[in-house]
């Protein structure tokens, strides 16, 4: 049974026509279901849990990448629930999943190619693509239960813990970097150099890449970590991979 969760911004008039096309297409494909709009009055968790109890086995987020990152952590905590996504605008996550925009995404849902993918966990939060450490100063990563630690020599490196990252990584070095099905996260250290007009730029040719399953991020002072560009978590933080935790509908053009 399909259940569609619309983000609140879709109430705007400019989305009426697109939503109508999507709903008609879903009916044509025979995968229409209950539609509910997000609101401040009810939490996403309550809404999803209620519908799972009612028999929904496929939850589709309709909106943008922010919608996706809000909904997927709730889906990940449910067992035997499949997650889908209909992006209403150009979306980086949708590109990685091989899902086109608006009504064309309905055909992907109908084809129902399901992948079990890894997700990351930092303290009590889940992240789908990456965890960023904006300021590497005095930050160290303790891995393997503290048997070894990794730190930036210059304290200026850009640090990411990636599951499925879409920020620049030198994939010429490793074809398998940031594969969401490998049971690993990658700690990526990218040094900064000076680009045009004195702006900082990432020197991807000198990246360090560490495949890890679990690590602890510590720092002398409290540092903010940013999960999926949205959620802020403070150090100390324990980061681990949850292997094949999320069932998700993907397209043939996916990047993994």
């Amino acid at each position: 049974m399909y259940y569609y969760l619309y983000d609140s911004f879709l109430s705007d008039k400019k989305y009426i026509q697109s939503l109508a096309k999507i709903e008609n297409r879903l009916i044509d494909l025979g995968i229409n279901g209950k539609i509910e709009k997000m609101s401040v009055l009810k939490s996403i968790r309550e809404v999803v849990e209620d519908n799972v109890k009612s028999g929904a086995d496929t939850i589709i987020a309709v909106g943008n990448d922010k919608t996706f990152t809000k909904v997927f952590p709730v889906i990940a905590t449910q067992s035997n629930v499949t997650f889908g996504y209909i992006p209403m605008e150009n979306s980086t996550i949708a590109g990685i999943l091989g899902v086109p925009v608006a009504e064309k995404a309905c055909d992907i849902l109908s084809a129902r190619i399901i992948e079990k993918i890894d997700i990351g966990k930092v303290n009590n939060h889940y992240f789908f693509s990456s965890l960023e450490v904006p300021h590497a100063q005095d930050v160290s990563l303790e891995c393997n239960g503290g048997h070894f630690s990794i730190s930036s020599i210059s304290n200026t490196d850009h640090i990411q813990i990636c599951n499925l990252s879409y920020t620049p990584i030198d994939t010429d070095k490793q074809k398998n970097v940031c594969n969401p099905k490998d049971g690993l996260l990658e700690a990526v250290f990218t040094p900064k150099g000076k680009g045009a007009f004195g702006k900082d730029k990432l020197v991807t040719k000198q990246q360090s890449i560490f495949p890890i399953k679990k690590m602890k991020i510590t720092s002398d002072d409290t540092v903010s970590l940013i999960a999926d560009g949205e959620t802020v978590v403070k150090t100390p933080a324990t980061v681990e991979v949850l292997n094949k935790k999320l069932n998700i509908i993907v397209g043939k053009e996916r990047s993994f």
Partner: protein, 142 residues
Amino acid sequence: MFKNQEGETTEKETETIIGPSVKVEGDFHGEGNIVVEGQVIGTLKTNRDLRVGSNAKVKADVEAANVLISGEVIGDLFIKEKVELKSSAKVTGDITTKVISIEAGASLNGKCNCDQGASIEPKETILKSKPRNGKTSKPEVL
């Protein structure tokens, strides 16, 4: 192993890259191939291949299947198959391996044990089997 020239890495095989901007301290055990371009202090182990770049500084005991060294290593090496020292390599420590290749210009200060027929044992096993104080391990007969 590492057939490409210095500065290039073998695609699909390399798994851990310790770049020039990073320092690793402690007991580092990798699962796959390792490329070191930065600093490592402690111990460095892998069951696969290890490459130490020309700007790398390793102050660690090293265990690997094969190793190619272009930079500085201070520590003992226990390499199951082959050690390759490039002309810019500086190694201070003992090497135990089956096969060694040393380019002109490489620096090696330490003992070199090469035996193609031997099975290379890790450091802990060798230390346990050595007799203490010159005595045998057999009990004295009274």
